[in-house]
Symmetry: C2
Amino acid sequence: MDSSIIDYISQFVKLTDDEAEILSSQNLFRQYEKNEILLAEGKYAKVCYFIIKGCVRSYYIKDGEERNTDFFFENQTIRPVSYQTKQPSEYYLSCLEECIVAIGDEARNRKLVEQIPKLFSLVAKMNEELLLQKQLELDHFKNNNPEERYLNLLENKPEFLDRIPLYHLASYLGITQVSLSRIRSRILNR
Amino acid sequence: MDSSIIDYISQFVKLTDDEAEILSSQNLFRQYEKNEILLAEGKYAKVCYFIIKGCVRSYYIKDGEERNTDFFFENQTIRPVSYQTKQPSEYYLSCLEECIVAIGDEARNRKLVEQIPKLFSLVAKMNEELLLQKQLELDHFKNNNPEERYLNLLENKPEFLDRIPLYHLASYLGITQVSLSRIRSRILNR
DNA sequence: TTAAAAGATTATCAAAAGCTAATAAGCAAC
DNA sequence: GTTGCTTATTAGCTTTTGATAATCTTTTAA
């Protein structure tokens, strides 16, 4: 049994042995191939994900082109917008690498929170933190040009550069692949 | 007594008369002049705000220039990043107009949630919703050019155009004032 | 090992944004 | 009114990005 989830949650709240047992017995693991789709546009997200291993890419289609919005790695939770809104998803979730993922559907999640009430405030805390990060990310994006944003990525998320192809990073940075390539060469020749 | 807060909360959860009474008796109102600073960079945010009347601008300084991050109007809650993180604020909050604001410090807020427990899940719900909005806002910002972003503002937040000077909107749109002016004339002559 | 596919860079040209400065319009105070 | 201050537009020039196409490199699979 993989203990990633228990380890992850234990960073934030103390779990009793019973609670840890509940968690580890409840979780459902699945393996996905590279490029396999977890969630497609138009579908309803019935589940949340916790990545044990691998990398998941979130994107949507604008003018026929994929626009990447997020990349998720090990020990990250994916709670699709569609899971929250109960509306058809506007986003795709697709595996950038072969992935091992823990999956929780709504009934399972609700039952878990009933059995371990402290999970409720943990989720609230995590959402607060996520909200904060999104705010900072948006502010940064608005007030820095593409070159600054690329340098910021190099500095703060080097794993993105290691594991994600540049042509995917380009739309994540809000620019074209060609422009990103020019920025990189501009930085090199300086 | 102003009933904005009660009315606002009642949209989301049913309040008993007792609970409404607790809320309306607890709240502290303050009036601020135009251009008065609610929170300055480097200060600790000890309180949250709920705007009864007026408009508050959030900004920070980059390269000596003000960069606007948000504008808050009537019936909006401001929960400063610094209030959440307990770190000195990187943002300013300043009144764009004369304002009437309800203020709640941490002790008061905590006590309120104790007396009216359903407020806890309300706040959690609101944070979820805010997170969703920020995600959409960020995605939109990344994948639309300045002209599209301006048109989107016209379409979806016309009150911004009515109540906020263009030179403040420019940095909110991630461009210069001059560029915004060009975009506007480009749209007109078409 | 070789061919095909995927990923990255370079070149050219047009469109848009930044920078700076000048000008114009709107509005409040005297 | 007219003076000053704030807000908005316009102009000239430079830099950057977008669009498209061609080329080069790396990875994958036969």
